[in-house]
Amino acid sequence: MARVSIDVGFCKGCELCIPFCPHDSLTMSRHLNEHGLPTVYFKEDHPCSGCRYCAVMCPEAAIEIFK
């Protein structure tokens, strides 16, 4: 099972990754990063097939995927 790691220092909360996740594993958090921007987080209990769609859409290259 793969997992998504989001660098919250780079995430601007644009949400472009969220609609393209086939497992609905990404969502917005209430946590603000050091720039005061809302960020996305990976739901650890949800599956990840490692399709990389989220990373392909991320304008900030904030997403890393591990297997």
């Binding site: 949400e15 472009l16 393209f20 392909v56 859409m57 900030e60 290259a61 997403i63 297997k67």
Partner: protein, 258 residues
């Protein structure tokens, strides 16, 4: 743990100045990925435009040069002629390329300069708060066309790929978008083809990328992707307009899918 995907090394790890959901970040990352994959970081020279991506040199760890507004094709011509073995690309927005730089791009294409032009078309002037651009769609609202673009007073949007396809010097012309993962990956393939055109000395290549500008389109980033898919591609059809490897489509004729 094995990394399935991580940010390319050519992309400098610093938070960008772009607005949330901006297409420039995706385009920069695709460029950095291609430069890493092909190992051409040491011999690639980029030209930054005037516009939102004026600070592109802060994000790409390659040799970059800044040009006067609209003039990256002219500077790139000089750099490429002095260093013919280097990979020279310009990265321009619609205000830079289609407005003030129209003469430079047309003549660079007609001279068949061995350069690659990356044309980010977001149909608006993002840097100066969202005024009418030459590529603004009909009826699109901007700060200078609050009632929508009216062809009687503001004219019609310019289709750069179709325009340059009439020139014999242009070897590869394609229009892609950033509206879905599939389109982003197709954009990457088109950019690779553009660099290949230059490396094999086949002439001028231009890749027009339809990019979102959610802040000045006054919509959310996800809505802006829908706007590209539903509205922008009606005016700017995606496809390859000229390709030196395949049969050349008729100028301004039916585009073929990338």
């Amino acid at each position: 743990m094995q990394a399935l995907y991580s940010a390319p090394e050519t992309l400098i790890r610093t938070p960008s100045h772009y607005c949330p959901g901006c297409g420039h970040g995706i385009a920069h990352r695709l460029l950095a990925e291609i430069i890493d994959e092909w190992g051409i970081r040491g011999k690639t020279i980029g030209l930054a435009p005037v516009g939102c991506s004026v600070l592109a040199y802060n994000y790409l760890d390659i040799d970059m040069c800044e040009a006067a507004h609209g003039r990256p094709p002219a500077i790139a011509t000089g750099i490429k002629r002095v260093h013919p073995d280097n990979v020279v690309f310009t990265y321009q927005g619609d205000g830079d390329l289609a407005a003030i730089g129209m003469a430079e791009i047309v003549h660079a294409a007609s001279r068949a300069e061995n350069i690659t032009v990356i044309f980010i078309n977001n149909a608006i002037y993002g840097m100066t708060n969202g005024q009418l651009a030459p590529t603004t769609l009909l009826n699109q609202r901007t700060t200078t066309t609050p009632e929508g673009r009216n062809p009687l007073t503001h004219g019609y949007p310019i289709r750069i790929c179709e325009l340059l396809a009439t020139l014999e010097g242009a070897s590869f012309l394609a229009r892609t978008s950033l509206s879905s993962p599939k389109d982003v990956l197709q954009t990457k393939e088109a950019l690779k083809k553009g660099f290949k055109t230059q490396i094999e000395k086949k002439g001028f290549s231009l890749i027009e990328v339809l990019a979102p500008c959610p802040v000045y389109w006054r919509m959310s980033p996800v809505e802006s992707l829908k706007f590209i898919e539903e509205k922008m591609t009606q005016t700017f059809p995606l496809g390859v307009f000229k390709d030196w490897e395949k049969t050349v489509s008729a100028p301004g004729g039916q585009a073929t899918k990338v």
